[in-house]
């Protein structure tokens, strides 16, 4: 990428090789220092409200971003469910509405909360019945292509939260 940038043409092949190695040497430490979005995100209070039968379930989690840049959660996937969608419930004028959203921003040095009545991951068609108490791994996906595996605690339908607060 950077090598494409116009630069003074070296006179000799050997000099060109030297320049390229200098460029690579300059790039590599940068690549090593670069951390993916997933490396900056800590997940906590991860739980799923399990509903009976094959009904879709809601998954909730608190995501903390320790980076100085905002991070976007774009979705998730799981071996335990055929489909996972990022959704948002809204209430206006006494009416409840649910819609798919493309991304949820986790602000720089801030947090985003997926909680009942707001943002949530909708889990559809469990591969096998999931019982309260089970741990279910969901892989959160971010806009830079990185991903973060998080274990969610399956909770009963009438649970009010992850049970820790």
């Amino acid at each position: 990428m950077n090598a494409r940038a116009p630069s003074p043409r070296p006179k000799h092949g050997r000099a060109r090789a030297f320049t390229v190695s200098l460029l690579l040497a300059g790039l590599l430490p940068g690549a090593a220092a670069y951390a993916s979005a997933a490396q900056h995100v800590q997940a906590s209070h991860a739980w799923i409200r399990v509903l009976p039968g094959d009904l879709p379930a809601g998954a909730y989690v608190t995501l903390r971003n320790d980076d100085s840049h905002a991070i976007e959660l774009t979705g998730a996937s799981s071996k335990s469910y055929a489909q996972v969608m990022l959704h948002q419930s809204t209430t206006s004028g006494g009416m409840s509405h649910m819609a798919a959203v493309h991304a949820l921003t986790i602000p720089a040095h801030g947090q985003a909360t997926l909680a009942p009545g707001g943002y949530h991951l909708m889990l559809m068609h469990a591969a096998a019945p999931i019982l309260p108490g089970a741990s279910v791994r969901l892989t959160l996906e971010f806009s830079d292509g990185s991903s973060l595996p998080v274990d969610f605690l399956a909770r009963p339908a009438n649970a009010e939260g992850d049970g820790t607060h």
Partner: protein, 226 residues
Amino acid sequence: MCAGDWRMLEAMKSPEFRKSALPRPAWSRLLSACVLLFAVLALGGCERSAPLPLRLTSIAGHMPDLSFSLTDDHDHTVTAGDYLGKIVLLYFGYTHCPDVCPLTLAHLHVVMQRLGPLADDARILFVSVDPARDTPAVLHSYVTAFDPRVVGLTGSPRALERLTKDYRAAFSREPSQANGDYEVTHSGGVYIFDRQGKARVLASPAASQDDIVHDLHLLISQGATP
């Protein structure tokens, strides 16, 4: 009604009313006294049914009495009459709603727990607005996952539409995914009826559990069999 009686009383005091009155023989004075006595009794009646200090949004007189004929989650036909004598919490939802409906039912479960044994005098009617998918069997496993006092109700689209219109709980379906799933927009409030099936208060989605528990205590204590 009571306010009307009061206005009638005021109108009778007005000069126009007096001018229009004929010369007053003794029988007329007696009649006036009777009317006054009647009005005073009517006002006394108002006092006897003084509004309870309910905290939630009052819908008394604005929403019709509970009336329906639907199918419950045991596949039995039930009517509003079957719940007379119970405090009814009416909520519209659907089982494929993974977030808000379970949240509301989980809240109501906590409310029922806080009521303790008094909760036996209350029933939560979860009325499906998605009868195509919510069969009595699906509803049964759904509602029993929340609280033993929840009853799942479904019925013909026409019967459900009538009920939602009665309570201005309009709902709409929108196709969303290629696999035929669809989204439902629905009223998020819980309509609360007294033992006589009269609409009393509406718990909005933002209502606190404390306020719901408070109002249910009042409504349960009202007309409780001693």
